[in-house]
Amino acid sequence: MSLSGLYWLPSDPDWPAKVKAVERDKPVAWDSLVALANAKLDFIRTERLDTCLRGAFGTEPPKGLATKPVRLALLASSTVAHLQPALRVAALRRGIHLTIYEADYGQYLQELLDADSGLHKFKPNTVLFALDARHLTSGADVAADAPQADAIFNETVDKLASCWRIARESFRCPVLQQTVLPVLPPVMGSNEHRTPGSPQALVARLNAALRGLAEQEGVSLLAIDEHVRADGTRSWHDPVLWHRAKQEISPAAAPLYGDLVARLLAAQQGLSAKCLVLDLDNTIWGGVIGDDGLEGIELGQGSAVGEAFIAFQDYARQLMRRGVILAVCSKNDEANALAPFEQHPEMLLKKTDIAMFVANWQDKASNIRAIARDLNIGLDSLVFADDNPFERNLVRQELPIVKVPELPEDAALYAECIADAGYFEGLAITDEDRDKTQLYRANRERDTLKAEATDITSYLRGLDMQLVWRRFDKVGMTRTVQLINKTNQFNLTTRRYTDEDVVALMNDRRGFGLQLRLIDRFGDNGIIAIVIGRMQDGGDLLIDTWLMSCRVLGRQVEEATLNLVAQEACRLGARRLIGEYIPTSKNSMVAKHYDRLGFAALDAGPDGRTSWVLDLAGFAAADIFITMVDGDAASRSEGAAQKVGA
């Protein structure tokens, strides 16, 4: 199965006609283009769609786009112009508008260093270094002994790291580094590493070193070397084309290359999928539980098919353990559907692994809508895995923003297909990710308590909540940046910030960045809210960012947060709080947020923006059932106590 064919996307025989139809309808609708990008496309169709896209939205993103437009600097050492259409189309597939700046041929270093270059004028918000193997090994000398080879290696690595640093310092934006394509022929063979100076050995060494180095420098990798391993070097690289056009990556592989980059761009904005919704019959076990019964389904050791299904369950569990939520959506009687989870000895997935279990006879689109609503996540963060083409097409038609892979017919290939499609592309893993299932399970227990408590007050009191707040710090940075970039619903301004911005706030005396952790009797909810405040001239504190995880809605965290913000604002000498609401397609739930908290309306813009004011002199902290804990002070006194103890 060729990856470069994007085989998980549905192929559409009417595609050429649809493009023409979309083009005829002026003005061209962005959403129609997104739909066209979500079909299986080869490189020619990709270019076709790109022409249409550029005609309609050349350098200007459509107004009111929920995603952040990306300005990508593509810094390459060989021809990459042929990859641009695929990059734009793959970004479009995820609803992102992409503008690309390509440094002049072979000039990436000069442009980086020259503050007046086109690159600097372009002001990228993401930089991708796409350096080819021949360029990076240009200093290699086959006859070099080990110390000489080490020197060449170190020089190359230092050059890379200094490029990253310049890019970061100049543009204060995320930097991506493409790993090196293993396209150079060996001079020894299997034991190439015994010729330390060989270009092929240098590429292998660079790729191994890039992992650690990128980590150290805060750079994310585009691991095309891994994909080449799966897909075969020959489907990515054609020496004939290298000599004809200096294309290291063949145009045929461009759609996949574009998709791999766009996954990273989407992940930066928190647009990766969050939940895998599984069908049951013939998706996680073989056969139909309602017909075949517990003994009849194929699952587990003993048959090749049964083992393939176990392998898929195992992969789903691995995804869960790194933070993907699992749900079930099956056409079945609930008791039948649950039976394997409760009674089948080979079943790997447990009922407790599933955050939401839906088995009934309603149509799957309605059930999937209910799953998104109950888990409080957007429909666009769901991936629906179902072996049945009919169900897949129904869900695609009813809910086009749900991702529905074309699962191969053989269950042995399911896990690979989900992985190849890259829906769950991640950039970092946090403690909250590892505990997510636990979080959702604890939420269910809280709901039970809620049902038992006679009124909301006694329920909240019974939770014994503690809100532990800290200023932004290095320890919490990954989670802070993750929340800032992926929270869409409870997010007043949807401003996205990078690691660098967060560090800048740590040192800002005229502002504050706060991370809030909620603990209750059922466990630690982790960091669930972020607030950024900035002092303005004239005694106003502007609430630049206020966002919260929807998991903790309705638990007075909003009121508790306001008490805290007021306290911190007073500390900075503020007399008034200014709150803003900037509408997006996803955050209407907080349109009345400041109104509810007792702010007075200040201003309203034509685009639906509103601003609000709260006079701190007249502010009385709300009565709440949450105990506030100053986490920084607690650690300081802990540290002091330890010193005394020692």
């Binding site: 490189f43 020619i44 270019e47 076709r48 022409t51 042929h82 004809r244 056009a245 063949s250």
Partner: protein, 83 residues
Amino acid sequence: MIEAEIYTALTEIFHEVFDDDAIVLKPELTAKDVKGWDSYKMVNIIIAVEERFGIKTRTQEIDKLQRVGDFVKLIEAKTAPRP
């Protein structure tokens, strides 16, 4: 593969690559006659042809091509059944 079949398939490829259904392929047609037929598009045509016909072309063979007729002859030779 007979010549007529090759022309039909090649025409489809040209229509897609240049996004122009009005292109009519004739043996004497050259790159100068088709708007936008540059070296970049040529690479795309070659790859599409290789995929469509299941063949592999050589650098020298491509460099010798002058007219569409030469291209069709090359494809014909490469797809001819081996004795």
